[in-house]
């Protein structure tokens, strides 16, 4: 894959962001109650593209809304009429700023489940219409472990345009996909170069980008050998250790709601008088009644079984089925967990109880 690499400085980047926001339907992290969530922004000052992972919600709701209307109906004396609906603006082209690479990677993982068998067209359309601009982190946060997993963080093409902070205030801008290249053209990259806001890079640039990555990779506190852990976990279904690691869990479901890759949902009907809406909203496998059937049978009646499903679905089942690890190592669940259960620690602790 050919790469287009440009270099600019902080001021040039800010101008670039401002131009993006003024020309496109842009979503970026906006602060509310000390937490950043991706919202539509109209000015650069309102958002913070460098929001830390720990304080930022996932951008997943922009593709898979927390509650999507899948159908509307009216039923009155004249009869019943059903309307397929999704009044989210699906048509327009959108740009997302400030998405971290783990968050972007999560979408690539989700593509697999949304595109097997039945293809979710709404999701598909949102994916196609979106340009992701992502800044690579400079330093790992407390619960990050993306480099320990099965994907290439350095050359990830999950984002369309990658931004890398070099040394001496240099900022590298790199188009990683065709969509990204087209987008940079649309943003008049050539004119910016002639204005001297951007420069074409010389041959030292790739080395500088690599250097930044190495410094970033060295800053991780959490490291594990993914292949080994995956191999161990796939034999561990009956391990009593799950009961120990899940003892602390209070089944609050936060982890699933903030997770960028959790994709389980529930379908519920809401009605008022003679109109109603059918919603598809997030659900969590940590819920006691997630698998409870109407007859009263529940395949996963106790907490450790639900925990096991969550951990193994992330690290084993999805890999078996779709060839990717469902966890992307962003650490959002651990950050949000009221009792600080770390999925990294859990997986590591459990996997250490068996030998390969």
């Amino acid at each position: 894959m050919s790469v287009e690499l440009f270099v600019t400085d902080k001021a040039g980047l800010t101008k670039f962001y401002e131009a993006i926001i003024s020309k496109n339907e842009t979503y970026a992290p906006v602060e509310k109650f000390g937490k950043y969530d991706f919202k539509r922004v109209s000015s650069f000052d309102a958002c913070n593209p460098d929001a830390p992972i720990a304080q930022t919600m996932s951008a997943k709701p922009l593709f898979f809304p927390r509650s999507a209307k899948i159908m509307k109906y009216t039923a009155d004396h004249s009869g019943t009429s059903v309307k397929e609906t999704d009044e989210d603006s699906l048509a327009g082209k959108r740009v997302i700023l400030g998405m971290k690479h783990c968050d972007a990677r999560a979408l690539q993982v989700l593509d697999k489940v949304y595109n097997w068998d039945y293809i979710d067209t709404d999701y598909q359309r949102r994916r196609e219409n979106t340009v992701i601009i992502s800044a690579r982190c400079d330093k790992a946060e407390t619960h990050c472990f993306c480099t320990s997993l099965d994907y290439d963080v350095e050359h990830s093409d999950a984002m369309d345009v990658a931004i890398v902070n070099g040394t001496d205030g240099k900022v590298f801008i790199e188009a990683r996909t065709e969509k990204g290249k087209v987008f940079l053209k649309e943003m008049n990259i050539e004119q910016r170069i002639s204005n001297n806001e951007f420069q074409v890079t010389d041959e030292t640039a790739p080395a500088a980008v690599k250097q930044q990555y190495e410094a970033f990779a060295a800053s991780f506190r959490l490291k594990m050998d993914y292949t080994e852990v995956n191999a161990r976990l796939s034999k561990i279904f009956d391990s009593p250790e799950f009961e120990n690691v899940s003892a602390n869990c209070i089944s609050c479901n936060t982890c699933a709601f903030v997770c960028p890759t959790c994709h389980c949902f529930k379908i519920s009907d809401e009605k008022v008088k003679d109109t109603g809406v059918r919603y598809k909203s997030y659900d969590s496998c940590n819920n006691g009644y997630f698998t409870l059937m109407a007859g009263g049978h529940n395949p996963r009646p106790v907490k450790y079984r639900r925990w096991r499903q969550r951990a193994l679905h992330k690290f084993v089942y999805y890999k078996e089925r779709f060839g990717e690890n469902l966890c992307v190592g962003c650490g959002k669940c651990t950050n949000s967990c009221p009792v600080n259960i770390s999925i990294f620690e859990v997986v590591k602790q459990v996997s250490e109880t068996v030998s390969v």
């Binding site: 039945y118 389980c264 395949p299 499903q309 193994l312 089942y317």
Partner: protein, 270 residues
């Protein structure tokens, strides 16, 4: 797709069979299913629910779904839907019984309660293709005699000398003249099936399936000759919502029909 309810049959106090026809002409001809598959009922204002198709595609003028009153949607279906009403249908989803594998074999059907519904689809199919299959034995149990469904149809089956129908109820009743006891017990003590060249198809409440599989093991059936349909909470039926995951298997896509051999490989979560 909207369906019109052609007929409602009250099978037992809490089970009703709905006979459905598509509202629009022509869909029925294109609506092809095989025994074992299921559809999603969609009731506006209440939600969606999966039900297996209880009739065979060989009798194609309409199709049946038997619904037991258990949860929210089913309660609304029972109270709200009557002959002439309309209901939304998606499907058919899931896999089906391995019809080719069954050819030329003796068939033993073991059903409990509402679990006869998917079997009924297969039984009808096999009756309509009688030449392809050898002996039939149907073992059907329920809690009480009132809970036995498809009573009329069972009477029809009994008239056919090539079908052996054995009924059982869990607890003795005064007027009941047939077997008394839970299905696995009757299976071992009364039916005493021939193992050779026989395939077993079983469906029922989870606890019944569990013990039936054990007694079939005891009787010497090979796991690959035992076929069952699983129940699991499902919402989308499309392999997205993640509810029916058992390990890396999606029951709604890879199931609901599994052989005992396949089940043994799955994590113990059903």
């Amino acid at each position: 797709m909207m369906c019109r309810i052609d007929k409602v049959i009250q099978e037992t106090p809490d089970i009703r069979t709905y006979r459905l026809k598509f509202k629009e002409e022509g869909i029925m001809e294109r609506f092809n299913w095989l025994p074992g598959q299921f559809v999603e009922f969609s009731l506006l204002g209440s939600g969606e629910c999966t039900f297996c198709i209880a009739s065979s595609s060989t009798r194609k003028e309409s199709f049946d779904c038997s619904i037991k009153r258990a949860g929210i949607v089913t309660a609304d279906i029972h109270t709200g839907l009557d002959e002439g009403d309309e209901v939304g249908i998606r499907g058919p989803y899931g896999n089906w019984f391995p019809l080719e594998d069954l050819k030329g074999k003796n068939l033993l059907f073991v059903g409990g309660g509402i679990g006869l519904a998917p079997l009924r689809s297969l039984i009808q199919y096999c009756i309509d293709n009688r030449a392809d299959y050898k002996d039939f034995t149907i073992l059907y149990g329920a809690r009480t005699s009132a809970d036995l469904c498809y009573k009329d149809e069972i009477a029809d089956w009994r008239k056919d000398p090539s079908l052996k129908v054995i009924l059982t109820i869990d607890k003795p009743e005064e007027t009941w003249k047939e077997n008394v006891g839970v299905v696995p017990k009757i299976l071992e003590e009364v039916v005493k099936p021939v193992v050779a060249n026989t395939k077993v198809i079983t469906c029922g409440p989870p606890i019944m399936i569990k013990y039936t599989l054990l007694s079939l093991d005891k009787l010497g059936f090979a796991p690959k000759d035992v076929i069952t349909t699983l129940e699991m909470k499902m919402q989308c039926g499309l392999g997205k919502c993640g509810r029916c995951n058992i390990g890396s298997t999606y029951v709604c896509k890879d199931g609901p029909v599994f052989t005992y051999e396949q089940l043994k490989k799955l994590p113990d979560e059903f």
